[in-house]
Symmetry: C2
Subunit: 662 residues, 2 copies
């Protein structure tokens, strides 16, 4: 961090007030002092590359120029990573500094995030040997093409066809309809030359379900689409402008037999189909990506909170007391109400991410020992936490943005783009409602098992406990609130189950009854997620190794999260737990006390996320608080401000004014 | 509307199912058959102008190109309006067809919306005679410059200074600090040559508060900024990309005395300051603009709902029953839950808008008769309804967008821009929290009057009734729910008041106690707004002149709104009304029944908003349902798709791939 000599005096004062050691928080949040050091070291390396800086912000460029600038930076960044690895003989540490370079999304996102992992996860050793070295070194550039214009969440409905031709030992790829065109894969538009294509396999007229195939779609030398390939980009979006999402259609495009990824199912030379032993093994990548999204949610909430809290410390507006100067807007309780929940939630998501990562590692280990018992629980948990955290994080980012007033609407605040990127996660890698209903299926199964007195998996074992504890009085403590959320989930799971039964008694079959109960089923899944988030984050804080000073503040944040959600969902608690009206009034008062208690540490807490100015990329959020200077500096970069008079005056305005005189 | 011959068969089927006359709904929604006819006639006139169509969508252009294209279209549109007026001897009817042309916001928005009305409202007859003809005919182009870099909601804190110089009979305008620069006025960036500047008036070193001044800032012939004027545009935003928002600073810039708008306060030649008789008369424009925003909310909710409902009728995904084909996603109850509330809310906002318009007209009439009694109620009501409707509408638009899955993230769906424009209204013309706290002040006054047994204004008279009726049992009817929301508001107003008292008893002064209670005060204002929206919209439906077939459906929508919010805020109702857990379970079932009941009419209901394809401007929402064809057609317009290989391949990708081989 830079010295504080030029810092806005409000921020200097805020930092002097902080009651804990910010460095201790940073090291705790990122794992260790060593992790912090390594991360910062890599950040320095990236920031030292001058070519990675934008001359003018991307928002001023055309769609095409943005893409070209994105490719430029992505390739330079690739070099930085490679050089670091060569020099230190290890991958760069986990970091977000690429956000300081690729402000939006990289056109290589799916190369690294899906193309390489899919070959690694679903290719045979021979296939890995053929493609992985080329892909990892970027001699070839790939993406993962699954979603189609007409099909997203329902994978079995995909229409792209791969027909095996035993005569030539090839697959023939076809997109028979407009809706069968691949649509969305990142980098597909103009960047990649390879992709994994997910298609329906047909052998001798018989369908064998969907499988992944590797297809080279552009010439490596000229980059021209190969014959039989129709490919292009899908146009502008709410965010992801430099992700270069594309479409793709095949017309009798042939690929060799060895291009089907055959770690699971196989097609032999003569066309014999050999079924995979365990299709569920491919869940791994999908679950890993969803766990990663929970981690992203922590990052985006931290980013937005840092910007909004610092701005709110610098911004003065109106008076709390007529006799005093204009107040920092951070002093308004309404502002604290909007912002502190974002700070608290970032920690909650971080702890949930670490908890899920552990669960994931365990299950993967078990799978390698052919033990699959805990796979459904992992899958159900990843589904609902991804769904709930991404929607919540989107709302938190947007509340932070709105809390910055008009300036939060400026692209230069970086809050609009941050919202666009955060909210996208509600849809990609499993649409929110679809995922919550998947978890609901798991919960209904668990409920039926509970009714039969069976032992339940750890994450749903509270359903049994709640069944037993339903008569116990409410405890107005963090532990009591955690139990309260479990009771709510219990109550909603039970109610949804009974609603299905009700509709079936009315003569509906199970599937229609499920649909009619699905609003309730979604809410049951949400309640289940909330119960997990509350329990996991409270336990993490209680078992943390933080010093007493830091621990006190982290407990306040965790309690804020618990209390906030108790008040937000008080109707559920009144319906399904033993909380009373008086308990709620006590918690409402407690909530106000927590805001006041956290207030002096607000700036210290966001400093503790240790997000550099270049990552924040925000006129409002920089460490030194030079808000107004930066707003003006950024505005002056506008191409419209490089000319005294825009050509549209002579072309359009002046003729209009002249005509008006007639 | 076009013929249905080429229409998507799902939409044809949906329309055949409709149980009411769509034309009756259209005429009811827009006031009369005559209004519909006139509106459509003007829409035709606008759509007939070929030059108003964009060759490629604006999202592909650079920031500067978008602006230039916006000016081009705005000036042509101006001609269309003028020609219509000349031909028909009346202004064009209320319409949204300009959205089909200016997809975002016009650079003339503040000319028509604020510059002209301010001269009309705050100028003397002489001033009106001088400027209005020029402004109305667009010989001059103006904006309204109030907000500054450092001050938005707290107008008294504005820093721009107008010092009267009696020697030359001029005002000297100055912006002494960076934070005093005007920031945000639409059109200011590169478009206008005049503006109303709101500045602190100083005469002989004495401050006389803020007043409006007319300043010419650019040369009419060359468009160059005049000496002493620093002006430019503020850069890209979340929306409003073509609004050309700008900044402005004066350096000893002189304007004649007659340029202060002096309908209220005056400065005489010798520098004598004559105070205005009634400063509150200037509230008129502000209230009118806020009432207009409630109307806008109805439009944006209708727009998003039309797109999302039609798309959901066309889109098929997954199976409700394994034995049946893939279902229309509109058949999923979870989808109905997301969309129908937007349809219902559009009607609620429309009715609230009409109700407020009537209140506004009455109060303006009373003001002209020097009767001011009802001004505070009008102001308080406009504040909270603007605040609540804009935030709710933003959320509804975003839920509609998310309900369209990945395709809702595409700019070509028009949902991202619609969200950006809708959500902006939460901030402009009075920031949400600031407005809610203004209403809260009114509610606290009303509460104290109620405690003293005084008669209250109509919109808060329920506070007295609730005081009396608190023991009555809950009625599970629409009327009962309306009363329930009044009880909630009553309970929250009371609780906030008592919280202030509590803090004062602890030794806080009133101002600090107010701040500490402000989260509750905001919620009390929200509850008050909800009670009004519920009452006004239910009454409008009950007193509507609709036929029985239509009336049945409109009642379902209104009940959906009531039931939705009962379930959403069940905690409040359990705390503050006599609703029971059993009542809530009945309402939950009722809500599911309403969704099922509305389902067959969903497409008919959005057809009833009568928004042309050109206004919707959406690949997903067109009347004929050609969703996938339009998505591809729009994508093919991308400049990246006009070339086989982008230059970035040779510049960046190929060198990277080559290097990787080494």
């Amino acid at each position: 961090m830079s010295t504080e000599t030029k810092c806005n005096p409000d921020l200097v004062r805020e930092r002097a007030k902080c009651t804990f050691d910010v460095n201790e928080l940073i090291n705790l949040f990122y794992g260790s002092e060593k992790a912090t050091k390594e991360r910062r070291h890599f950040e320095d390396a990236v920031l030292a590359v001058k070519e990675l800086k934008d001359a003018i912000p991307e928002e001023y460029l055309s769609h095409k120029e943005r893409y070209e600038n994105g490719v430029r930076k992505a390739t330079i960044l690739r070099d930085v990573y490679r050089d670091y690895k060569a020099k230190h003989n290890r991958d760069p540490p986990p970091n977000q500094i690429t956000k300081a370079v690729i402000k939006d999304i990289s056109p290589f996102l799916l190369h690294n995030g899906m193309f390489v992992p899919t070959i690694a996860g679903q290719g045979t050793p021979e296939q890995q040997a053929e493609w992985l070295p080329k892909a990892e070194s970027m001699q070839i550039i790939g993406t993962y093409a699954q979603t189609e214009l007409g099909h997203g969440s329902f994978i079995r409905g995909l229409e792209t066809i791969a027909t095996y031709d035993p005569k030539t030992e090839e697959f023939v790829l076809n997109n028979p309809t407009l809706t069968s065109f691949k649509w969305w894969p990142g980098g597909l538009g103009s960047t990649v030359n390879h992709c994994v294509v997910v298609a329906q396999l047909y052998i001798n007229g018989k369908s064998h379900g969907i499988h992944p195939f590797i297809a080279q779609i552009r010439d490596l030398d000229t980059h021209k689409p190969l014959p039989g390939v129709k490919v292009g980009e899908i146009g502008p979006k709410m965010g992801f402008q430099t992700a270069n999402n594309g479409f793709l259609g095949f017309d009798n495009f042939r690929i060799p037999r060895k291009n089907m990824l055959m770690k699971n199912a196989q097609v032999l030379k003569d066309g014999t189909f050999v079924k995979g032993i365990n299709e569920k093994l491919t869940y791994g990548t999908m679950v890993m990506v969803r766990v990663g999204i929970v981690g992203d949610c922590s990052f985006y909430a931290a980013l937005a909170a840092t910007i909004a809290v610092r701005y709110s410390a610098v911004r003065h507006q109106s008076h709390i007391k007529a006799s005093e100067p204009e107040a920092q807007i951070l002093d308004y309780l309404t502002q604290q109400h909007k912002l502190f929940i974002a700070v608290a939630s970032s920690h909650v998501y971080r702890n949930a991410y670490l908890w899920m990562e552990k669960m994931y590692t365990n299950v993967m280990k078990e799978l390698s020992q052919d033990k699959q018992d805990n796979l459904p629980e992992l899958h159900a948990t990843a589904c609902c936490l991804k769904a709930v955290c991404s929607r919540d994080a989107g709302s938190l980012v947007e509340e932070c943005r709105l809390a910055c007033g008009g300036h939060g609407y400026m692209a230069s605040s970086n809050l609009p783009l941050t919202y666009g990127v955060t909210i996208a996660a509600v849809t990609y890698e499993g649409e929110r409602t679809v995922l919550l209903l998947q978890t609901a299926r798991y919960l209904m199964k668990a409920w039926m098992a509970a009714l039969k007195g069976k032992v339940l998996s750890p994450s749903v074992s509270y359903l049994l406990n709640s069944l037993k504890e339903s008569k116990k009085p409410w405890q107005n403590t963090p532990e009591g609130i955690v139990k309260g959320f479990q009771h709510v989930s219990f109550g909603k799971v039970k109610a949804a189950y009974e609603t299905i039964q009700k509709y079936m008694k009315q003569g509906k079959d199970y599937e229609d009854a499920w649909n009619l109960a699905s609003v309730q089923l979604v809410k049951a899944s949400e309640a289940h997620s909330r119960a997990i988030l509350c329990e996991v984050s409270w336990e993490a804080v209680c078992s943390s190794s933080a010093s007493p000073n830091l621990s006190r503040v982290l407990q306040q944040l965790a309690q804020l999260y618990l209390t906030y959600w108790t008040l937000e969902t008080s109707g559920d608690l009144l319906l399904y737990s033993n909380i009373t009206k008086d308990d709620l009034i006590i918690l409402r008062d407690k909530y106000e006390e927590l805001l006041v208690a956290i207030r002096p540490n607000a700036v210290g807490l966001v400093d503790g996320f240790d997000l550099r100015d270049e990552i924040l990329n925000s006129t409002l959020g920089s460490y030194d608080g030079r808000v107004y200077e930066r707003l003006m500096e950024e505005a002056l970069k506008s191409p419209l401000n490089q000319e005294t008079v825009n050509s549209s005056f002579h072309k359009y305005l002046k003729p209009m004014m002249e005509k008006a005189k007639l």
